[in-house]
Assembly symmetry: C2
Homo-oligomer: 309 residues x 2
């Protein structure tokens, strides 16, 4: 491969997916950032341009910069890289804004170096960007951004990422109320202990969701989208959550929950038409209570990061 510049789409992602706190994530197809990465003779990483968001351009303070440096530290590359970030995903929206940037950087650099690293190694580098963003090097957004589709972080020690089959007609609707919830704050309100009874219900639903995805049983996917652990606490931070959830399910969504640490709310539907109907019902709720929002309807992205021409 002789190219020195690559332009990519970096997908937004929904982490947790209701029952799978800290282990499940899924990539979106029509929401994501664009990045341009250039191989240059000067070593190191420089963020040369950021559009769409006011984010730090200093390499060590930028998630893409930090993730890229983690890769370069292990690559022994004699090249350096310039990174342009064109943000479409809003920071703090709960659909993997930082993960898109970190993952895009390491994926593209790996391509431009002729792929010295495996996808699993790339996840580890990208996790360093997540550590900068939220204080915790979690993988539940970077894994689906890299692998596409649904991914399971089975274990962190050692890191074990399992791609999960995704049925073709699965669509996501995501609504982002224009309030900011920081991932670090959102983690602080969680309890350190849960009841064994709630734990049993939670892993029953994780098992059900994985089985539903493999067997393409949309009803089972919907029945399994229940979160006994995190949603009852975090949903308090999200205005109109209960109403959004009830209108989504009335409109025929398979299930509905908090995207990552919020404040975005996601719903899954079978088919695009249903997902658009759900979007309409969700927006009516925020219109009626006067909250600004973005709303997205997207097929599940089964490819991960994509090269743009």
């Amino acid at each position: 491969m002789s190219r020195n510049e690559i332009r990519i789409f970096c997908p937004a992602t929904i982490a947790n997916v209701s029952c799978g706190f800290d282990v499940l994530g899924v990539a979106l197809d029509s929401v994501g950032d664009e990045m341009v990465i250039r191989k240059v003779p000067e070593k190191g990483i420089r963020i040369t341009e950021i559009t769409g968001q006011d984010l730090p351009r200093e390499t060590h303070q930028n998630v893409a910069g930090v993730a890229g440096l983690a890769l370069l530290a292990e690559s022994g590359s004699k090249f350096g890289f310039e990174i342009e970030i064109h943000k479409k995903i809003k920071a703090g929206s709960g659909i993997g804004s930082s993960a898109a940037s970190s993952t895009g950087a390491v994926w593209a650099i790996n391509e431009l170096l002729d792929r010295p690293f495996s996808p699993l190694q790339l996840v580890k580098f990208a996790m360093e960007g997540e550590r900068l963003a939220s204080g915790v090097a979690h993988a539940d957004n970077v894994a689906p951004a890299l692998f596409g589709g649904f991914t399971l972080v089975r274990s962190y020690e050692p890191l074990d990422i399992i791609p999960i089959h995704c049925p073709d007609q699965l669509y996501a609707t995501v609504i982002h109320p224009q309030i900011e919830v920081r991932t670090s704050d959102s983690r602080k309100i969680l309890k350190t202990h849960i009841t064994l009874a709630d734990g049993i219900k939670q892993w029953g639903n994780v098992g059900g969701l994985i089985a539903g995805l493999f067997t393409e049983d949309y009803d089972l996917i919907g029945r399994s989208l229940v979160d006994y652990i995190v949603e009852p606490i975090r949903s308090i931070l999200i205005p109109g959550f209960d109403k959004i959830k009830s209108v989504s399910k009335e409109a025929g969504a398979l299930g509905c929950g908090i995207s990552g640490s919020g404040p975005s709310i996601f719903a899954f539907s079978k088919g695009e038409a249903k997902a658009r109907e759900v979007a309409e019902k969700m927006t009516e709720v925020y219109q009626s209570i006067g909250i600004d929002y973005d709303v997205h309807v997207s097929k599940i992205n089964t490819q991960g990061i994509k090269i743009l021409d």
Copy 2:
């Protein structure tokens, strides 16, 4: 169907399967009870014969009797049933002895009545036998005994049983040290709360095990057979547990854990030859410390209860 008598094989089952406490179970093929059920004009249920174990013959004190009565109460049948139970599974061994009897009774009665009830309804009736045996109407043994293969109890309210695909080369080795651990005692020592961190690792492994079963990824199945919640506590009640587990894994077992509430220990292997090697290594441990045991090697039973000629 005009037959009035049916002779059946009722499989032993492994509940929990390491990571899936209270939700997962799997049926065995070469270990199980035999039962004969006869349709008779006199209403009610009579236990006419029990061989192999000293168990109560009074209908209301026998798990098969209680499960059968639960079915009859909803059937409006004008017939009654006689039940012979030929126990091969030892009570208190942790491989679903009571579940085999309860499930066999309701399955056979349903056949002799021309199947008025669905498999899910049969699980509910059989759970009444489990309530008599252990004080808790759990479904993690009766579900695999009825459906065969691996089953997930996704939810109890409402009851939702999900059959899970099983790879063809999966074999179980089960060793039963001749000590008795009562299910009710074994539940008492469990804590009512767990850490969120342990919960996350547990549902990561449940997801991994289900994914491994669907994709026939034996290594992933093995990596997922880890129990952070129950095994560290219950294994203390089982002599030689740690040694049995380490020799099993050294011999090439995919994973090893407590069967149900113990004291039986199970291991999974790829292929019968490996499962037999594991059995040999397990028995050497109990021989060396002077504990009597039974040991079984079995293919996974994907059919559930079977009619014998």
